[in-house]
């Protein structure tokens, strides 16, 4: 099913593992050179900059060549068959660059995956644009179904992580809509169904990731794990459940205790991120740990929506101080690595092309922090001395 040559993929995995070991300073460069000579990879995989350049240029090529063809065949262009043909042509181009030119995550294949999938989906949607008779739910159901099938196909064929994400989300949407269609019982139990499905998907992705058969799909399974952990939380988040309920039942509840099973949803909203973090640390599971850290923010926001404790600026300042204090304590605690944890960066060679991404991020986010303003009577523009006019 997978389009790539398996020996190449195997060798690629070996090379990646050994180069990681080199970055972790447990292998030296000579070892790596010998290994990569014995297990050569013939894929064309440029670095991220060339890859994004090729991605942009492929998009330009396709849009203008399609525009050109459409201009010449303007009387044919209005049918779904035309769009489908474009999809088939771009898909054929995709298979060609991958098979003959051995492109593997080169930017060209990335672009063609999304372009051809987009054409296929548009070809499906095209005839239904004009049909208003089709009832809404079954229409959306069928769209979710088509997206799921396309996503699954591209995931299996190209083991593309983003395609896996789209496929999984379409799957969830399909199940949610189908369940909701069975009536009031379905709508009322929708959060629980999504919790069960998300959990099952997470378990599946985790177990499947350990089997030898899935070796080429690890990044796809990681993505499924990440998304299912997030949806698992969101499906039981008080704010999400309340708004979903308002949408489905046409109500406008907004109190902190108005939902049935409110305590359950509150416990879920507040505690689950901590469960993730605890579990992540215990099992040394990076995905779980990071998902937990991200969801703490969601828990805080959910809480802030319903309960007003302190003004926002005080919350920000105190939260910031707390984060700094926590990181100081972690650093103190892990001065010498304990229980297999360390705060040292084990993989030090991630600085790509001498680019310090962190410094750019700092500059982008902090450069409009309060700076002297040039006009004392200029009113409220205290922060952001940035884009003001010249002196």
């Amino acid at each position: 099913m997978i389009i790539y040559d398996k020996t190449n993929l195997d060798n690629l995995i070996i090379q990646q593992q050994t180069s990681n070991a080199v970055h972790m300073n447990i292998l030296d460069n000579d070892d790596f050179k010998k290994v990569s000579a014995a297990y050569p990879v013939s894929f064309y995989t440029p670095n991220i900059f060339i890859r994004s350049g090729l991605f942009i240029l492929t998009c330009i090529t396709v849009s203008f060549s399609v525009g050109l063809i459409t201009l010449m065949l303007s009387n044919l262009a209005d049918t779904w068959g035309y769009i489908l043909t474009l999809g088939i042509i771009s898909y054929a181009a995709l298979e060609f660059v991958v098979k003959t030119n051995k492109h593997y995550r080169s930017g060209i294949d990335d672009a063609l995956i999304w372009i051809s999938a987009g054409f296929f989906l548009t070809a499906y949607l095209w005839p239904t644009f004009s049909h208003s008779t089709i009832d809404d739910t079954s229409y959306f159901l069928s769209v979710a179904g088509v997206v799921f099938i396309l996503g699954l196909y591209y995931t299996l064929r190209f083991s593309d992580a983003l395609a896996a994400a789209v496929c999984f989300l379409a799957f969830l949407a399909f199940i949610a809509m189908e369940w909701n269609r069975i009536g009031a019982f379905g709508s009322a139990t929708l959060p629980f169904l999504l919790i069960v499905v998300s959990f099952a998907s997470w378990l599946f992705a985790r177990i499947a990731g350990k089997s030898a058969k899935a070796i080429y799909y690890l990044s796809c399974l990681d993505v499924v794990q990440i998304i299912s952990l997030l949806t698992l939380y969101l499906a039981g988040n008080y704010f999400v459940v309340q708004n979903l309920g308002n949408m489905l039942f046409d109500t406008s509840e907004d109190g902190p205790g108005s939902l049935p099973f409110a305590p359950f949803f509150w416990i879920w909203s507040v505690l689950l991120p901590f469960v993730y973090i605890g579990w992540g640390l215990k099992k040394k599971d990076v995905i779980m740990l990071r998902a937990g850290m991200l969801l703490i923010a969601a828990a805080v926001f959910t809480f802030k929506i319903y309960y007003h404790v302190a003004p926002i600026e005080v919350t920000l300042a105190l939260g910031g101080a707390a984060f700094l204090a926590i990181s100081y304590m972690i650093r103190r605690y892990l001065k010498i690595p304990k229980h297999g944890f360390t705060y040292e960066d084990l993989n030090e060679n991630h600085m790509l092309d001498k680019i310090n991404v962190e410094s750019l991020l700092i500059t982008e986010t902090f450069s409009d922090s309060p700076a002297p303003t040039e006009n004392r009577f200029g009113g409220g523009d205290f922060g952001g001395g940035g884009s003001s006019s010249g002196f």
Binding site: T18, L54, T61, G320, T363, F366, S369, A371, S387, G390
Partner: protein, 326 residues
């Protein structure tokens, strides 16, 4: 870690005995790094604290509490700097590795609170009077000093944007594109001047081997500001003959950057050169097609973009191979 793989590689004679020992050691005692988690916490902590304090000052201006807040910010800044000066490593013109990321972020917090402190002083008490230049010059000098003294590239970026503020313009590429300052000829000149300064400093840092790794930050801002100001100049003077001069500037900058990127094998700057030059050439082609009288120019336009982008794809792939092979 897949230990069997390393055993197999060892049996095939591809990795040495000592390496296998190290792998076994790591396999038996695996280490889990929370480096990035800690960094994220620090980043968020500094961001939340400094923006919380910023809003706090703003809301409490002209109330009794503002002196307390002023004092708090001054204390915060002073204690951050105290901590950093105590733990800093001696200055060197080569790269100095910082003690750890906690140090980096405390330094950042110190700088941010210092800048807010000065801003507040100026806003409330006008300590710099009407010398607005001075009010932005001092933070800029302090930031540059801290960036070099402590070898902190993030603060260097802040210093660079502060330099732009001192000159009266915004510097981050995002702000540059959203501020819409392209149609003011005096601003375009200021931007061009800024770009020339930044590019020269980038060149000099490398030439005299003085904090060579700072070159990237100077070059990053210099290149974006340079290209955008030159192109703005070109479009502003579109109907005058002087537009050719701006265009010449674009190509000179592109050529210099291309040579430098190839020399340093920097794919990031290579990509920037290629994309900015492609944009320029394409706008020239469109200008040429636009002056054609007949209706075929749309077809020619489509044909141009299709063929030129395919050509550029091939060019990029070849260039990539050439640089990698070199």
């Amino acid at each position: 870690m897949n230990f069997d793989l390393y055993k197999k590689l060892h049996e095939e004679g591809l990795i040495s005995d000592t390496s296998l020992e190290k792998v076994k050691e790591r396999h038996d005692h695996p280490l889990f790094s929370v480096h990035w988690e800690l960094k994220t916490l620090l980043y968020l902590g500094v961001m939340l604290l400094s923006s919380g304090l910023g809003i706090l000052i703003y809301k409490n201006i002209d109330t009794i509490g503002h002196q307390v807040i002023l004092l708090m910010i001054a204390l915060l800044s002073a204690s951050c700097f105290f901590y950093c000066f105590k733990r800093k490593k001696p200055f060197d013109k080569e790269k100095v590795k910082s003690p750890d990321s906690f140090f980096d972020y405390i330094l950042l917090l110190g700088c941010l609170s210092f800048v807010s402190f000065l801003g507040y002083l100026q806003f409330q008490y006008t300590v710099f009077g009407d010398h607005y230049g001075l009010a932005t010059l001092i933070p800029m000098l302090v930031l540059f000093y801290v960036a070099y003294q402590f070898d902190h590239q993030g603060i260097l970026g802040l210093a660079i944007t502060n330099m732009a503020i001192y000159m009266g313009v915004a510097a981050t590429p995002k702000a540059l594109l959203t501020a819409g300052t392209y149609d003011d000829p005096s601003l375009i000149t200021v931007y061009l001047l800024l770009a020339i300064i930044l590019l020269s400093v980038a060149f000099l840092s490398e030439r005299y081997n003085f904090k060579k790794h700072f070159k990237f930050n100077y070059l990053h801002f210099g290149v974006h500001i340079g290209f955008i100001s030159l192109l703005s100049g070109y479009f502003f003077h579109y109907d005058q003959p002087s537009c050719l001069l701006w265009l010449l500037g674009v190509f000179v900058l592109a050529f210099l950057l291309y040579m430098d990127a190839v020399k340093n094998k920097s794919f990031y700057f290579l990509l920037l050169t290629v994309l900015y030059s492609y944009f320029t050439i394409s706008s020239l082609v469109i200008r040429g097609l636009d002056s054609m009288r007949d209706n075929d120019n749309i077809i020619f336009g489509f044909l141009y973009f299709t063929l030129s982008s395919i050509g550029l794809v091939i060019f990029l792939i070849r260039l990539n191979k050439k640089i990698k092979g070199a």
